[in-house]
């Protein structure tokens, strides 16, 4: 009965979303109908919560009469992964996607008290239409509650690679990020319909952009960390189509964050901001399509038949096509806003937007061009890491070199010389760090040394950003202190995010350039060196897991003869699907990691059992994951800025004015 209640609630959510669209569209002029639309938005969200709860219940109780559960669960699976199985499958993940869509719809209704009535009503209409499209697809083409006439005795289980704590929470984060951009999209389309795009609109989209971008950052980082330790060869980014699918909206979101600031502060660039707002969610939908279309192969992809992929492509075409057509129609009539000089913060932000958009284009073409080429002349080609290293990396390097200048420049017309002077210390530090690296390590690592210099340039630039805002060394000390205390959260957030980016660049450079690898067939008792460390395989035992059987190695890691940690990598066999996986053991050593996997069993020349052990010394690899988390934290800090929370209708208290002005 719970399953059927979930099935009914899903349909109810669909009908409510359609009602929300119609009522809210009519509600742009009639407050009563706008209210009715809000009620429908809440109702759709509540109904989907019921559906999602019913689905999780079916997974937890192993109700194999539900086709989705039978195909993706197993009675022997631990509880956490049975729960996570609810969104580990295509159908279940569509419910999560719709839950997020309606959840954000309810959030517009709830938090949108400060929006003009007509804008709010039209946004809810657009959000409802998006919900209706995806819910219709879910109900009629991917129903997660479909029943089996003859339930099997055991389920087909979930891919064991996906049975992992990071991956249990990675999709919800990612989806909240993806779908968070739907609010920005709805607000953009609503503003285009209403014809009013100004600084106030830019402020209203900012908190949603920040939230979506921050969640997406966390989601991508978790996914990257999962790939790093679950796939077992120490890579953290593979330019896999599904990774790219999440990276494109992230890049557009990052561009949008900056563009919206310009529109908010200066009323300028409304067209760019609108374009990016629509593009960010378009890329989110493209991601959802790519993962499910079956046109691309990937570890993360859901296998779905091409018909359903085409349906999703149709939804993408309707939503994005409509929005861009509206944009093309309205864009010429947009006011360009105040003018600015080539050297100004506006220009810096535009350059930032161009770089990020070009980077997203590189990712998009690298992902989609093989399909296009195949459609044109039947020739299949691959665009893998070498392509992205050649195109994406140089484009981003341009942006990263220019980044610290932006915050140093004033609005309208900046002082290039002054900015350069204020960054002198940062440049000195960066060049020093680069030269030191070049001197210490062999000269052929010129590029890595450049990367280190770039990392320090960004770190020092982020610190200089705060220095600039408090006018350090330029005004008397008490004034600096006063300004420091009065800095708005947004300033801290931006500086934190840029600092995190610098950390990431440093980590990526160190990890790529000075990683040490090892692969050896080892019998128990054997020791091998790995850089400054020494690995000893003490023994290999058998572990009987809940739904797997594993060989577990016990290795001691020593440095200079002293034991620094013990590692227990496993090689697991999951009989339900017949797959074998590797469980990595990681020794955390400050910012470095010693990363060990246990491979297949072999025999030594003497016929003793031995195992293929792979070890990696990954220097500063923690920064690769800490950097982006710091960026997400920066987003959260900005989001907590009272200027964003302040409903725009509220009056600011006099004392706060000067603080805001200081930004």
């Amino acid at each position: 009965m719970i399953v059927e209640l979930g099935a009914f609630a899903l349909i109810l959510a669909l009908v409510l979303s359609i009602a929300q669209t119609a009522l809210s569209a009519a509600g742009a002029r009639r407050p009563l109908l706008a209210g009715a639309g809000e009620g429908a938005a809440y109702g759709a969200f509540i109904a989907l919560v019921v559906t999602f709860g019913a689905l999780i219940h079916a997974f937890v109780t192993s109700d194999f009469s539900v086709a989705n559960v039978a195909n993706n669960s197993h009675t022997a699976k631990p509880l956490l992964y049975r729960v996570a199985g609810a969104w580990g499958s295509h159908e279940g993940s569509m419910v999560l996607w719709c839950l997020a869509l309606t959840g954000f719809g309810a959030a517009i209704a709830w938090f949108g008290q400060g929006l003009p009535r007509d804008l709010k009503a039209r946004s809810l209409a657009v959000q409802g239409a998006l919900g209706a499209l995806f819910l219709a697809y879910t109900v009629f083409a991917s129903n997660p509650m479909a029943r089996l006439a003859d339930p099997p005795i055991e389920g087909a289980s979930l891919n064991p690679l996906l049975q992992d704590p990071a991956l249990a929470i990675h999709p919800p984060m990612l989806y909240l990020g993806y779908v968070g951009f739907s609010v920005v999209f709805s607000l953009a389309v609503a503003a285009l319909i209403g014809g009013r795009i100004d600084a106030a609109w830019a402020r209203w989209i900012r908190p949603w952009t920040l939230a979506a971008w921050g969640l997406l950052t966390i989601g991508i980082t978790l996914g990257s960390f999962w790939a790093y330790y679950e796939l077992g060869w120490g890579g953290w980014w593979f330019w896999d189509p599904v990774e790219n699918a999440s990276f494109m909206p992230w890049l557009m979101g990052a561009a949008l964050l900056h563009s919206a600031v310009v529109t908010e502060k200066r009323g300028a660039l409304p067209g760019w901001t609108l374009f990016l707002a629509i593009a960010a969610f378009t890329f989110s939908m493209l991601g959802a399509f790519l993962v499910r279309s079956g046109v691309l192969t990937s570890v993360h992809a859901f296998a779905v038949d091409p018909e359903r992929g085409l349906l999703l492509l149709g939804i993408l075409g309707v939503a994005a096509g409509g929005a861009f057509a509206l944009f093309a129609w309205r864009a010429p009539s947009l006011s360009p806003g105040g003018g600015f000089k080539p050297i100004s913060r506006e220009s810096a932000m535009v350059v930032n937007n161009i770089v990020l958009t070009a980077a997203a284009a590189a990712v998009m073409f690298g992902t989609l061009f093989p399909l296009i080429r195949e459609a044109i002349d039947g020739q299949t080609i691959s665009a893998g890491p070498p392509y992205f290293n050649l195109i994406f990396v140089p484009i981003m390097v341009i942006g990263l070199v220019l980044l610290p200048f932006g915050p140093m420049l004033a609005w309208k017309r900046g002082d290039a010389l002054g900015a350069a002077q204020r960054l002198g210390f940062a440049a000195l530090l960066a060049v020093g760090a680069g030269l030191l690296t070049l001197a210490v390590v062999s000269p052929r690592k010129a590029l890595a040394s450049f990367g280190v210099a770039l990392g320090f340039w960004l770190l020092a630039g982020a610190v200089a950003e705060i220095g600039e805002r408090v006018r350090a060394f330029r005004v008397p000390w008490p004034e600096v202190r006063r300004r420091f205390g009065g800095l708005p959260r947004g300033a801290w957030g931006s500086s934190l995010a840029h600092f995190g980016l610098g950390l990431f660049v440093l980590g990526a450079c160190f990890e790529t350039a000075w990683k040490i690898e090892l692969a050896e067939v080892m019998e128990a008792g054997r020791s091998v060196p790995l850089g400054a460390y020494e690995l000893t395989l003490d023994k290999v035992g058998v572990v009987d897991g809940p739904n797997y059987l594993a060989e577990q190695g016990l290795l001691t890691v020593r440095k200079g003869g002293k034991v620094v940690c013990t590692a227990e990598p496993e090689r697991r066999f999951y009989p339900a699907g017949g797959q074998t996986t590797q469980e990595v053991a990681i020794c955390y050593r400050g910012l470095d990691q010693v990363y060990i996997t246990l491979g297949e069993r072999r025999a030594t020349a003497q016929g003793q059992p031995a195992w293929l052990v792979r070890g990696y010394f990954n220097p500063w690899v923690q920064l690769i994951f800490l950097g982006p988390l710091l960026m997400a934290l920066g987003g959260a800090v900005s989001l907590s800025d009272r200027r964003l929370r302040l409903a725009p209708g509220q009056k600011s208290k006099g004392g706060r004015k000067s603080r805001e002005a200081a930004a």
Partner: protein, 368 residues
């Protein structure tokens, strides 16, 4: 579904619908009654202008800048004020009421069309409870195994029960599960030679008839507690022959044959195998040897595994190596129809991957 569950379902569905309808009407009423708070955009622009005035007052903007910045912000405020004249109409009450009533009705209609009204939940626990009460003869091996698994969870120290569970799992094709149950049983009764022997047999099945290191260890353990046991002796000798120690293995088999009763059903096949090894000098082919302990069960076990593979590929077709294995397995089992169907399906799935197509072709031709 029992009557009261049916009633409960319709009540819950109706309550959910009522909640949605109430939300629509309640918010409609509230928004209609709320006073117009003025346009929030104008207030924001006003504040921006005030911020500039503040900067000017504190001498932070130069005179030339001030005039232009102020003019820009002022024009933005004026533009916002111009735009902030939304038309507000009354009415719409009837539309809202209609939406609140019609929405759940349409939802019910669609549900009756595509849903499965009246269908009860089928949680595993309830199904197992039903099987536990049913006559075992009407159940499949897999159902028995599922029911026994549940019982074994409650009494984890019953070796006899685990042995039964292993048997049921073997019959249903779950060799891995059988081995797991037997290992658990052997932990409870480490001196029981029958358990070790069965564990060895499961290992032999798992590896397709080959007596691997795990199986050897298990048979050796069985012999430690029952030196005369026939099955471990048979298998260890087979292992010797496979290792090339043919004379030693044959000698053990002959001793075993000599010790067998005249009406022992295992006598003729063993004698045949001895004769074959004597003739060829090679170990007997695994299929033949597998027929010795339990031919039907083995076949069933293989079929179980193949069906599992087929089901898995059905759910997740994105596994080229799995398809190759499936095609080969159907060929071995002699199921040409299923093999061709799987081949055709895989050929369309990987039509642009020549490597996979070649592998599929090879697998389908191997046993023709």
């Amino acid at each position: 579904m029992s009557l009261w569950l049916t009633v409960l379902f319709w009540t819950a569905a109706a309550l959910l619908s009522a909640l949605a309808g109430w939300l629509v009407l309640a918010l409609a009423r509230r928004r209609a009654a709320a006073p117009d708070a003025g346009d929030p955009g104008v207030a924001m622009h006003r504040r921006q202008l005030a911020e500039i005035d503040d900067l000017v007052a504190r001498g932070l903007l130069s005179d030339t800048e001030q005039a232009e910045v102020r003019a820009e912000a002022g024009k933005r405020l004026l533009a916002a004020d111009d735009a902030a004249r939304p038309v507000t109409l009354g009415g719409g009450r009837r539309i809202a009421t209609a939406a609140a009533v019609l929405t759940p009705l349409i939802a019910f209609g669609v549900y009756l069309w595509i849903g499965a009204p009246g269908r009860a939940d089928a949680p595993m626990a309830a199904r197992i409870a039903a099987w536990s009460k049913a006559d075992p003869d009407t159940l499949t091996a897999a159902q028995v195994a599922a029911a026994l698994t549940q019982v074994a969870k409650k009494t984890p120290n019953d070796a006899r029960l685990l042995e039964l569970l292993a048997k049921a799992r073997m019959d249903s094709g779950d060799l891995f599960g059988a081995a797991k149950a037997l290992r658990a049983a052997a932990r409870i009764e480490p001196r029981n030679p029958a358990l070790w022997n069965q564990l060895g047999v499961v290992f032999v099945w798992t590896s397709g008839g080959e007596v691997g290191p795990d199986a050897r260890a298990a048979f050796a353990e069985a012999l430690r507690f029952d030196p005369g046991a026939a099955s471990p002796r048979y298998h260890l000798a087979l292992a010797d022959i496979a290792d090339g120690k043919t004379a030693q293995g044959l000698a053990s088999w002959r001793t075993l044959l000599a010790g067998m009763a005249a009406d022992d059903p295992n006598r003729p096949p063993l004698a045949a195998e001895i004769a074959e090894v004597e003739r060829t000098g090679k170990p007997p082919a695994p299929q033949q040897q597998a027929a010795a302990p339990a031919g039907a069960d083995m076949d069933q076990a293989i079929r179980g595994m193949v069906d599992g593979l087929a089901a898995r590929l059905e759910a997740d077709p994105n596994d080229p190596e799995g398809w190759v294995r499936l095609v080969r397995a159907y060929g071995v089992l002699g199921e040409a129809g299923k093999r061709d169907a799987a081949l055709a399906r895989a050929n369309t799935l990987y039509k642009d991957q020549p490597q996979v197509l070649a592998a599929l072709k090879a697998a389908s031709e191997k046993v023709q």
